[in-house]
């Protein structure tokens, strides 16, 4: 539920921004398409970030027991 809303909200914001920019600059559907893709990327980014947040809050037990902290951030 949480990951789903993060993803969809970003796509909606991206597409909405593109649509408004199109209305303003009168540039056909192009900006909306571009911003839709940007929104998709932002949605994936949101999902990855909140999943990382969840993992930090409650680390997976086996990985945490074997190797405490040997990869990525901090």
């Amino acid at each position: 539920m949480r990951l789903g809303t993060e993803f969809i909200a970003a796509i909606l914001v991206g597409a909405g921004m593109g649509y408004l920019l199109d209305l303003w600059l009168k540039t056909g559907p192009w900006l909306m398409l571009v911003m839709l893709l940007v929104g998709f990327a932002a949605g994936v980014l949101n999902v990855v970030r909140s999943a990382a947040e969840m993992n930090r809050a409650a680390p997976p037990p086996t990985a945490a027991m074997r190797v405490p902290d040997d990869e990525e951030d901090e």
């Binding site: 539920m1 949480r2 809303t5 993060e6 969809i8 909200a9 970003a10 909606l12 914001v13 991206g14 921004m17 911003m35 940007v38 929104g39 990327a41 932002a42 949605g43 980014l45 949101n46 947040e53």
Partner: protein, 251 residues
């Protein structure tokens, strides 16, 4: 519901005027009434329960202290010492959403968190506070939030719009999450409860069949209490995480 064959699960969300001032003007609705009630209950409870300030707290005072410590730990964990400046803000939001959701679980009470305009207003408040405080505290450095460190210059034209859209999507995901959980839960509850009445109209066998949705309704009611508390918690946690971004704008 007078007619057992007509179950209307949306009816509970209807906004009605209690007192209206002038034609089409401002009016005091049932939604506003329950907002006032929630604030009143929170203020009364916290004031009365902490009045004695006994060193060994009684049960009522203990609950207030636990709520305080719970939110204080949440804020300092995600936003650090500097974030405790925002403790009153996060605590108010948490209590408001929590009491609103819990009020919604009482029959015949209106659940104002099931209206997106209210959750969106709350989320927008968080959003504006984060932007204004971030710019006030960090000046132009606040916009470093959109430029992750360690990214080579030639991919910045792609990364910055993605970060901006990701930032702008926060109030929407924050408000939609709370609103959708509460709305869906209440509709599910109403639909299953409606099955009991409809099946009951079929005579003895119908009553036997109605046992199933009855069990479901009891179970979903318990689940809804969980969701009500959990969504208030999630709202407050995300608020303190966004405030953390305003205080320390680099990723």
């Amino acid at each position: 519901m007078a007619d057992p064959n007509k179950v209307d699960p949306i009816h509970q969300f209807q906004i009605t005027d209690i007192v209206s001032f002038g034609e089409g003007g401002v009016s005091f609705t049932n939604s506003a009434l329950f907002m006032v009630l929630s604030v009143g209950v929170i203020a009364l409870y916290l004031l009365l329960s902490t009045q004695k300030r006994s060193l060994v707290p009684n049960r009522v005072q203990l609950i207030s202290e636990m709520l305080y410590e719970f939110v204080a730990k949440m804020v300092s964990d995600s936003a650090g010492k500097a974030g405790m400046k925002f403790f009153p803000f996060v605590f108010s939001l948490f209590m408001f959403v929590l009491v609103a959701n819990m009020f919604g679980m009482i029959p015949f009470f209106f659940t104002f968190t099931s209206h997106i305009i209210i959750t969106f207003a709350l989320a927008l408040l968080v959003f504006v506070v984060v932007i204004v405080y971030g710019i006030y505290k960090n000046g132009l450095k606040f916009f470093k939030l959109f430029v992750p460190s360690g990214v080579p210059g030639y991919v910045l034209p792609i990364v910055v719009p993605i970060e901006v859209v990701s930032f702008l999507s926060r109030p929407i995901s924050l408000s939609v999450r709370l609103f959708a959980n509460i709305l869906a839960g209440h509709i599910t509850l109403k639909v299953f409860a409606g099955f009991i009445v409809t099946l009951g109209g079929l005579g003895f066998l119908g009553w036997l069949g109605a046992l199933l949705p009855l069990v479901m309704t009891v179970a979903i009611t318990a689940l809804e209490f969980l969701v009500a508390a959990l969504q208030a918690y999630v709202f407050a946690v995300l608020t303190s995480m966004y405030i953390n971004d305003a205080i320390h704008p680099s990723h």
